[in-house]
């Protein structure tokens, strides 16, 4: 889970793994590690989710947190244009550090879609094209959350089977 601070990475994981959402914003230090088992094409997968601290003006994501990743979810908050820029730079950093890996794009906080910035969305269009899937999600209402993670799982399964 990569993205700017306060875009909802931890909330998405919490909703997906524990079916819990809290209105209270709690910042992440380091990385929170969760495990989720899911069924895809009659196969059981264990997904180890690394919810990495959000990038902000004072700290960027350290490359060591990317070690061993099989795929990633980029999370952006279209109500905050600055988070789109962070998403783009993070994707670039992943590519430079470990090469092309499958990723899914989450446009979070769809429950307040009326506050989304249209220019920001236009900015992320190209990134969306590169992803294996782009989802409008809301950790608050659970919209698109399962689809988001399952899309990445499906993609990992496919790439694993073909390799």
């Amino acid at each position: 889970m990569l993205g700017a601070f306060s875009v909802g990475k931890t909330s998405l994981v919490s909703q997906y793994v524990h079916s819990i959402f809290s209105e209270k914003y709690t910042t992440t230090i380091g990385v929170k590690i969760n495990k989720k088992q899911l069924e895809i094409d009659e196969q059981t997968l264990s997904m180890i989710l690394w919810d990495v601290y959000g990038e902000d003006n004072h700290q960027s994501v350290m490359p060591s947190y990317l070690r061993g990743l099989a795929g990633y979810i980029l999370v952006a908050d279209p109500t905050r244009p600055s988070t789109i820029e962070t998403t783009l730079s993070l994707n670039k950093m992943v590519g430079e550090t470990i090469g092309d890996m499958p990723f899914v794009l989450a446009l979070n906080k769809v429950d307040i879609k009326e506050l989304w910035d249209e220019n920001a969305l236009a900015q992320i269009h190209d990134l969306s094209e590169l992803s294996v899937g782009t989802f409008e999600t809301s950790a608050k209402t659970d919209k698109g959350v399962d689809d988001l993670f399952e899309c990445l799982a499906q993609s990992l399964l496919t790439s694993h089977s073909s390799s």
Binding site: S6, G30, I33, H58
Partner: protein
């Protein structure tokens, strides 16, 4: 490889600044199976991790981490458990991976609080409805950013304490926009500079004592006292050459206090580390030079440190032993017991043989105890005591006792056979002496009559001696049957046997309420016959003998005492009187063979009882039979 693993961990851990934080480590083989486990595994949530299984199968959060190149990485503040922050280190030694987990919860929680406040502020600022932007809000924002930096500087794990202090000073430098920051240690009137950052002020050098002249130049700094856990340390100062004085707001004051607090914390840790280091050096020196064979190892017997004496015995240099499995120094027959003792962590008197390089194996006794050294728990201290000489002495003593018992048995046998076989020729001497006396009596002159009389008396004495010797031998050799014996009845019978002696001496023998005991009647009869007979024999002239036989309950059981008002004896002979043929008086004064009390002693031994005597010359004697009630 296995013998070198501890060095890899200790070198890596030694390069970190752990500040007494808990840590756990795992060594992996080429298939990522766990081959070594150490440190505070329970505290860090790894109590179920087992050797011989892959790390990923047991610690699923490691999935993917262990694949790839052998590049070491550090993942700070990994939260695989709720509310616990752990720095995860992956490093390699000879291409073998090692995982080190260092607890960082205290710093992580603090960092989270600071970051939370700052990001809340950032979110508000981003909000179009934000009313922030006033000077007061800017100042608050600046404060939170600087505070978070302090947390980060404090929590850095790859820096030493002075580097951390300098980082904190630099953060303050930036905060106060000053040109120079430094620490001073308190030396009373004057101060010594210990850390300097920035270059705005050229008049200070580390180690310089600040005198009154310099004090006047730097008095306009923003400064705060620094305290460590051990008391006042000095001050942290921020200077600006362009300003005589800072105008510190309440927020600035708060930040200055935070800076001095963090620095005090670090300096306290430094002082403690220096103390521990000094103590450790002393301890290591003491441990390694102690003239005893001892070593420290982990729960699997991997030697960590060793005394000079131990290294000498096994024929290795002192620095060659650490990293080896201790079992290799002991005889293979002892490996099971030693492995069990070390695994348990507490064991006493474990017998083992220490293989020595230059001599035959030493017999040793191992005492194992579990110790904790700093953050390293579960260390085993093994003390090997050389018991070769003791065991040899024990074996020799056992052999001597066996030979002595055998000789005593032969002697007893000889005494019995000799005394028995002597009876017949003696009887012949007595008989034929009697014939000679009868046949030659009328023709014997004075000399001849005297010579015959000597032969008769000597043979009578010899007969008595042989009789007593036989009694003594029988008492020693007897395998008696035990029955319930009423001592009152037994004493009555004994008095009947001694009737003549009692009436001749006018003795008064008193007894009552004696117990019934499990005993051999024949031996017991002989015992009391001898004791009462002796009391009558060794009476004082012109004094009626009074003999009391009493029974007393004492702490150790029951005592039967035979006391008299006779001539008594000197207590220095209290033991000697029980030896065979031992006499305190010659046979002219008191006739006898000196066997009687020896027979009494042997009779008591046969019952498992003890016989002792007390006496006072001219007052009387008391013989005490202590019954074994059990």
């Amino acid at each position: 490889m296995d013998t070198e693993v501890s060095k890899a961990v200790s070198q890596y851990v030694g390069s970190l600044n752990l500040d007494n934080r808990e840590f756990a480590f795992f060594g992996l083989d080429g298939d990522n199976c766990i081959t070594r486990i150490g440190g505070s595994v329970d505290q860090l949530g790894f109590s179920n991790v087992k050797l011989g299984q892959t790390a990923e199968s047991q610690l699923s959060f490691l999935e993917g981490l262990l694949s790839g190149d052998n590049k070491p990485i550090v993942i700070p503040n990994a939260q695989y458990l709720e509310n616990r922050f752990v720095d995860l280190h992956l490093f390699f030694d000879a291409n073998q991976p090692w995982l080190l987990f260092v607890d960082n919860t205290e710093v992580g929680v603090g960092l989270q609080k600071a970051q939370q406040v700052r990001l809340d502020q950032d979110i508000l600022e981003e909000s179009p409805q934000s009313e922030l932007g006033s000077p007061a809000d800017d100042e608050q924002h600046k404060y939170w950013i600087a505070t978070e930096k302090l947390f980060t500087a404090f929590s850095g794990s790859d820096q030493d304490i002075d580097e951390k202090i300098n980082n904190i000073l630099n953060i303050g430098l930036e905060y106060f926009q000053s040109s120079c920051a430094f620490l001073t240690s308190d030396m009373g009137e004057n101060f010594t500079v210990t850390n300097i950052v920035g270059n705005g002020v050229q008049l200070l050098e580390p180690g310089e004592v600040i005198n009154a002249d310099i004090k006047n130049k730097i008095r306009a700094s923003a400064a705060s006292e620094v305290h460590t856990v051990n008391g006042p340390f000095g001050c942290v100062c921020f200077l600006n050459e362009n300003k005589l004085a800072y105008s510190l707001s309440a927020t600035d004051e708060k930040f200055l206090i935070a800076v001095s607090g963090w620095i005090g914390n670090l300096l306290g840790t430094k002082e403690q580390l220096e103390f521990i280091e000094a103590q450790s050096a002393n301890y290591k020196n003491l441990f390694e030079s102690v003239p005893a064979m001892l070593f420290l190892c982990d729960a699997e017997g991997l030697v960590i440190s060793v005394s000079q004496q131990f290294a000498l015995q096994v024929g290795l240099a002192q620095d060659e032993v650490p990293g080896k499995i201790c079992l290799q120094f002991f005889d293979s027959d002892n490996h099971g017991a030693i492995r069990n003792a070390i695994s348990t962590g507490e064991a006493l008197h474990v017998a083992a043989k220490l293989n020595c390089n230059h001599s035959k194996a030493l017999e040793v006794e191992l005492n194992v105890s579990e110790k904790k050294f700093g953050a390293m728990s579960g260390i085993r201290m093994v003390i090997a005591t050389d018991v070769s000489a003791r065991n040899q002495a024990y074996r020799e003593a056992t052999e001597q006792n066996r030979l002595l018992a055998s000789a005593n048995e032969s002697l007893d046998q000889f005494a019995f056979v000799a005394s028995h076989d002597l009876q017949e020729p003696l009887r012949k001497i007595q008989q034929f002496s009697s014939f000679l006396e009868e046949d030659l009596e009328p023709n014997l002159d004075v000399d001849g009559r005297y010579h015959l009389e000597v032969i008769v008396k000597a043979s009578e004495k010899m007969s008595a001696l042989i009789k007593d010797l036989l009694s003594f031998s029988r008492a020693k050799k007897a395998q008696p049957d035990f029955h319930l014996v009423d001592l009152n009845n037994l004493l009555t019978e004994v008095m009947t046997e001694l009737d003549l002696a009692i009436s001749e001496s006018g003795a008064e023998v008193k007894f009552n309420a004696l117990p019934v005991v499990q005993a051999n009647g024949s031996l017991l009869s002989q015992l009391f016959n001898n004791l009462i007979g002796n009391a009558i024999k060794y009476r004082k002239p012109d004094c009626q003998p009074v003999i009391n036989v009493t029974c007393n309950a004492v702490e150790s059981g029951t005592q039967i005492c035979v006391s008299d008002n006779g001539i008594g004896f000197d207590m220095q002979y209290a033991n000697k009187i029980f030896e065979p043929f031992s006499r305190l008086h010659n046979s002219i004064q008191y006739e006898g063979t000196g066997i009687g009390l020896a027979i009494c002693h042997a009779a008591c031994e046969k019952h498992g009882w003890s016989l002792t005597a007390k006496g006072e010359v001219g007052v009387g004697s008391t013989f005490i039979v202590e019954l074994n009630d059990a």
